[in-house]
């Protein structure tokens, strides 16, 4: 009898190990959402026992996800704010770890029919503070400017606000769009529109020069393009197990090649 129970226990435990799978939850930056989905798909193909769930919503949601246990990894297109970090420290007694995985740029997009090829930082500042409201002031036809921005949960929103608007608030006429895909499709539908987003999101909207420099890989790598930043994965503490393995894989040549093919600038 004892032998039978022992046998059942062994069989049962082996069943558990066969069915066992690992789950990694990732949340945060919309800029990084598509990229992480692709990286996750390739990783899961090579590691069938791992399931990775990626959700967007903005960098702020990523940090909140870490705080409330709904995410193992936060995708962040900006640095963590000090008040967000304090919550993590108070709750987990850890100051967190940033893993830089790629370099990105804030790209300014206009409609493909728009002949404007270049805007200066000052032009952008004036557009988003509603000091310039018409394309004729920027060398095109007499048509009102329809400017889009991201929601305040987005890291891109904050980066643009600090680096272009010098910390001032966007003017009230600027339309807030929930995610990057919608913003790009709206630009494509409206001739007089302008918006901004990350580099790696391929679209039909026309990227333009800033301060006479195109957001090309070489220009971003050498910091010639003025609006560059790092894309980060943020964990509460040193990652362990498959989370660690996944991040290490992203930093491997294979992971970095996927990042480069997607359009971002790799770290390696």
């Amino acid at each position: 009898m004892k032998k039978i129970i022992f046998f059942i226990l062994i069989s049962f435990s082996s069943c558990i190990s066969i069915q066992r799978y690992e789950k990694i939850k990732i949340a945060g930056s919309d800029t990084m959402y598509k990229l992480l989905e692709i990286l996750s798909a390739v990783y899961m193909k090579n590691n069938p026992n791992v399931s990775i769930y990626v959700t967007g919503g903005g960098t702020e949601y990523g940090f909140q996800g870490l705080e409330n246990g709904q995410a193992d990894i936060a995708m962040a297109s900006r640095n963590i704010h000090s008040d967000e970090l304090k919550i993590i420290i108070d709750k987990f007694n850890s100051i967190g770890i940033s893993h830089l995985i790629a370099k990105d740029a804030i790209v300014i997009y206009v409609n493909s029919n728009n002949p404007v090829e270049n805007l200066s930082i000052e032009d952008l500042n004036k557009i988003y503070l509603c000091k310039i409201n018409n394309w004729k002031d920027l060398g095109w036809k007499n048509q009102e400017i329809l400017a889009y921005r991201r929601m305040s949960t987005s890291g891109t929103y904050h980066y643009f606000k600090s680096h272009i608007l010098n910390g001032e608030d966007y003017c009230q006429n600027i339309i807030a769009i929930q995610n990057h895909e919608t913003l790009i499709s709206l630009i494509e539908q409206n001739e007089n529109s302008i918006g901004f987003g990350g580099l790696g999101n391929h679209s039909d909207a026309k990227p333009i020069k800033v301060n006479n420099i195109y957001p090309l890989t070489e220009n971003i790598k050498k910091d010639k393009y003025p609006l560059t930043r790092y894309l980060q994965l943020f964990t509460i503490s040193e990652p362990k197990g498959y989370v660690r393995d996944f991040i290490n894989w992203i930093m491997s040549n294979e992971g970095q090649n996927i990042i480069k093919n997607f359009g971002y600038v790799g770290i390696l």
């Binding site: 640095n79 704010h81 000090s82 304090k86 770890i97 940033s98 600090s162 680096h163 910390g167 770290i267």
Partner: protein
């Protein structure tokens, strides 16, 4: 040979093996096997101008890497025993057109990078265009064990904290000074309290403008990091001469008549920081050389011997010389490790445990090579019994005593003391503990300590056979003032190779005895590195 004779021979072998084996073999190893000419030749090669100062992210480091691999390959071993561990590094330069301003009712003061402030860390390219509140928090220390708190009753969330260097009188033990005196510790405290940036005023360290300019040797350079790092914070070092400017408004303000540096308080001055940066990434490599012991019971345990092979490369010229050759720092240390690796390979049959000889890159830019290795070790950390780091070999004269930097934290002190006696040396324990901690903190051995592996840096003491104590001290001062991190640290530096030979022989003896001892080093119970053992135990 008859049976009785055979028994006697076996008995003699056993007696030697169990009672005198190590000692006999080790002593003879020391005397005969180290060839100082090999060490000299490697040192001259590594510090040659053709290596361009072995700078991280520069061509010279790759040339040095090839040289070291070529030398290791001559050790007649399987090439698989050499592992190249490549690690990516992020370099961030803060540009001089960055804007840093103080704003108060007296007006706005724009500060000039390098002349009036340095950037200690950019907090991953921080950019704060909005006015930030400044809060003075004395020394920026929170030490709950002695109920000391510079942040008591002050909310710093989203604000910049301003603090002095050093520690208050209340922190009167070396252990507390070691724990809280470092800027890194103060930054972590500021982060944990929710601060957004730090301003350090080094009123104790910087006494005049010359001191300030010397600080530029460390901070007029880019900031380096691995692509993964714990959260960081913008940290600005402010010229102490500007202290008055920062506090004047509060000192002169009628409402703030009670202002004193003794109290933490919110200042009436605010700041803006618009950082401009240039960044890039590049790869550097650690070279790991494994000498596998033939002892099946112990060969899965490792003694780790390390030396960094990077230096400062081609940088700002001094007296028309822009190649920082790093002859003493650390071409000679690397050369000693190359010679030790050769001997240990030849003598591997007497090794109880295996040995890892690691040539680290990235030491000069924040111990990046060793930090990366201890996060990504090629064998589990708990299998490493100890780390012996080589960074500064004997070069003045034959010495009578040795110093174990970090020895006080573990029973490596006892090993060192015993083995020193075997070599007619004694262990010098009469040195400033604060200085000793700084030395321990400033080279690759500390990365092992933080990872839970007992570690030590062995230096020659200051009692010499042929020269006086004063002469030795003056030579060290001369090196620090005129040669350390200077292009003049080149092959023309006066080295007493007999001293280097004695040091290498002692090190070889120490390595073999430590490696072959039944007992393994352990942290002393009251040392904070012990906490890391729990992590090691978990991994086990």
């Amino acid at each position: 040979m008859n049976k009785l004779n055979l028994k006697i021979i076996i008995l003699i072998i056993l007696i030697i093996k169990f009672f005198g084996y190590n000692k006999l073999i080790c002593n003879s190893l020391n005397e005969d096997l180290i060839n100082i000419n090999n060490i000299k030749n490697h040192s001259f090669a590594l510090a040659d101008d053709s290596m361009f100062g072995r700078g991280n992210g520069q061509l010279g480091l790759k040339i040095a890497q090839k040289y070291i691999i070529d030398q290791l390959s001559k050790n007649k071993i399987d090439k698989n025993n050499i592992i190249i561990q490549s690690l990516p590094v992020i370099e961030i330069n803060t540009l001089e057109n960055s804007e840093f301003e103080f704003i108060n009712n007296f007006g706005t003061k724009k500060l000039s990078l390098y002349r009036e402030y340095y950037i200690h860390s950019s907090g991953l390219m921080s950019y704060f265009p909005n006015e930030l509140d400044l809060v003075f928090v004395r020394y920026g220390i929170f030490a709950p064990e002695i109920d000391y708190n510079d942040y008591y009753g002050i909310n710093v969330v989203g604000k910049t904290v301003v603090f002095f260097d050093g520690v208050p009188n209340e922190l009167n033990s070396n252990e507390l000074i070691a724990r809280y005196g470092q800027l890194e510790a103060k930054k972590r405290i500021a982060l944990a309290r929710g601060a957004i940036a730090c301003i350090l005023i080094p009123i104790n360290e910087i006494k005049n403008n010359n001191d300030w300019k010397n600080l530029g040797n460390d901070y007029e350079k880019p900031e380096y990091n691995l692509p993964f790092f714990t959260s960081n914070i913008l940290t600005i070092i402010l010229h102490p001469e500007l202290t008055d400017l920062l506090f004047n408004f509060d000192k002169n303000n009628l409402e703030s008549k009670n202002f004193t540096y003794e109290n933490s308080q919110i200042l009436n001055t605010k700041m803006v920081f618009k950082g401009r940066y240039r960044d890039r990434s590049f790869n550097i490599s650690n070279i790991i050389y494994e000498i596998k012991s033939t002892n099946p019971k112990y060969n899965d345990e490792y003694l780790v011997i390390t030396a960094h092979y990077d230096h400062l490369g081609v940088s700002k010229p001094i007296d028309n010389d822009s190649i920082y050759n790093g002859f003493y720092d650390n071409a000679i240390g690397v050369s000693v490790l190359l010679e030790l690796s050769k001997i240990l390979t030849e003598q591997r049959d007497i090794l109880k445990r295996s040995v890892l000889c690691i040539f680290f890159a990235g030491e000069e830019i924040g111990l990046l090579g060793s930090r990366y290795f201890t996060k990504n070790p090629i064998v589990p950390l708990y299998k490493m019994i100890a780390n012996i780091n080589i960074d500064g070999v004997a070069f003045i004269d034959n010495f009578k005593n040795v110093i174990g930097v970090g020895a006080n934290y573990s029973n490596l002190k006892e090993f060192l003391s015993d083995i020193a006696l075997d070599n007619n040396l004694f262990l010098d324990t009469n040195f400033n503990k604060k200085e000793a901690f700084d030395a321990f903190y400033n080279s690759d051995q500390v990365a092992f300590a933080y990872a839970g592996v007992p570690s030590i840096l062995i230096l020659d003491g200051l009692e010499y056979k042929n020269v006086s104590f004063e002469y030795g001290i003056n030579r060290l001062i001369e090196y620090i003032e005129n040669y350390y991190h200077n292009p003049k640290d080149d092959v023309n530096l006066n080295i007493n190779w007999n001293a280097t030979l004695q040091y290498s022989q002692f090190l070889l003896d120490f390595i073999i005895k430590l490696n072959n001892c039944e007992k393994v080093p352990e942290w002393y119970n009251n040392k904070f590195y012990l906490e890391r053992l729990r992590t090691r135990a978990e991994k086990r």
